[in-house]
């Protein structure tokens, strides 16, 4: 069995994804992340920084990879982001969650939705009914099949990035991939 294609993105970036930046950008950065993971929390401003540096050269995509055995609030937080996403507010919720990693219980999640101007009753109903669970699971399974090995895991143009994701190293790798 050939193993050359281990650590490759198995589900191509497409319509289903939450993306920032032009669809025809020369480089696409995909992050598999968990809203309760402290490393992802550290990566959040770094991603913003490389987005600023690369501008329209970069498209950024976020997919959910909640580690439920380690992080009790990760699943609901992911579903909350998707719930906001279903109402066109994914990125606002995404930022809010990473900026409030220590307050991700349901009560706070509903509060964040309300602050974004979403209907808190409908939002809470979705959360309780796990309306977005299947979508989160789809992200998770696509991550496993791509060789996600913890959170955050990054893919640059479909190839798992195993190097350090400090801003300079990441910028360098993205710039090289964009050439």
């Amino acid at each position: 069995m050939a193993d050359d294609d281990l650590g490759r993105l198995s589900l191509p970036v497409g319509e289903r994804d939450h993306a920032q930046g032009p669809a025809d950008a020369p480089v696409t950065l995909v992050e598999y992340g968990d809203y309760e993971c402290p490393h992802c929390g550290r990566a959040h401003p770094i991603v913003k920084e490389v987005q600023r540096r690369l501008g329209s050269t970069l498209r950024f995509v976020f997919r959910n990879f909640p580690l439920n055995e380690s992080h009790p609030h990760a699943q609901h937080a992911a579903e909350a982001a998707e719930g906001a996403g279903a109402r066109g507010r994914f990125w606002e919720m995404h930022d809010t969650l990473f900026e409030h990693q220590r307050a991700l219980d349901d009560q706070h999640l509903v509060g964040y939705a309300k602050a974004l101007g979403l209907d808190p009753v409908a939002f809470e109903h979705d959360l309780r009914a796990h309306a977005h669970k299947a979508r989160v699971r789809q992200d998770f399974v696509s991550g496993i099949r791509s060789g996600v090995n913890g959170t955050p895991t990054f893919f640059i143009n479909g190839v798992r990035f195993d190097d350090s994701w400090d801003p300079d190293t990441l910028t360098e790798a993205l710039t090289a991939a964009a050439r």
Binding site: M1, D3, L6, D34, L67, E69, S70, I144, S146, N149
Partner: protein
């Protein structure tokens, strides 16, 4: 890319998997032959307590449902002692056995070609063993790189497809 980063000497596909019996807790021993008739995933890793969340064992812990679809048994294995494994498994809430390749140290890792003399630990080496006890896939990752699970799942799928063909 993998070949460029690492030359591995781990036992390859087609080799009968060497038998072993190791402690998983201070009073419980697990042997490979107990799982004859089912696929076994043998995951060597360097050490308990690596300081990241979502490390290799924590990741596999999230995937037990996926492995169960293939009726596969997952065994983690490192040179840490049984007491260490008990504490680690408890702290990380791991729901699969960790085997202590502790005395003689790394003895089983050596049998599988997965011992790192220079570090005194095992490699990050993965083996998928078929129900008849033969290694069907193996992979040795650079020690700093958690290999994930895509290779394991692919190997399990191809085993299943084979057995379906009879």
């Amino acid at each position: 890319m993998a070949a460029m980063m690492h030359t591995s000497h781990v036992l390859g596909a087609g080799t009968p998997a060497p038998e072993f019996a190791l402690h998983t807790t201070p009073d419980q021993v697990v042997s490979l032959s107990e799982f004859r008739g089912r696929p076994v995933i043998l995951a060597f890793y360097p050490a308990d307590w690596s300081p990241v969340c979502g490390d290799q064992m924590a990741l596999y812990n999230e995937l037990l449902d996926e492995f169960a679809r293939f009726d596969a048994e997952l065994l983690g294995i490192s040179v840490d002692g049984a007491w260490c494994h008990v504490a680690f498994a408890h702290e990380r809430k791991l729901r699969f056995p960790l085997l202590a390749d502790f005395e003689p140290k790394g003895g089983v890792a050596r049998l599988y070609g997965a011992y790192r003399e220079q570090d005194g630990t095992s490699e990050r080496a993965l083996f998928v063993i078929d129900p008849g006890g033969v290694i069907r896939w193996s992979y040795c990752s650079p020690v700093g790189v958690n290999p994930g699970a895509d290779g394991i799942l692919r190997a399990l799928e191809s085993l299943k497809a084979e057995s379906a063909r009879g």
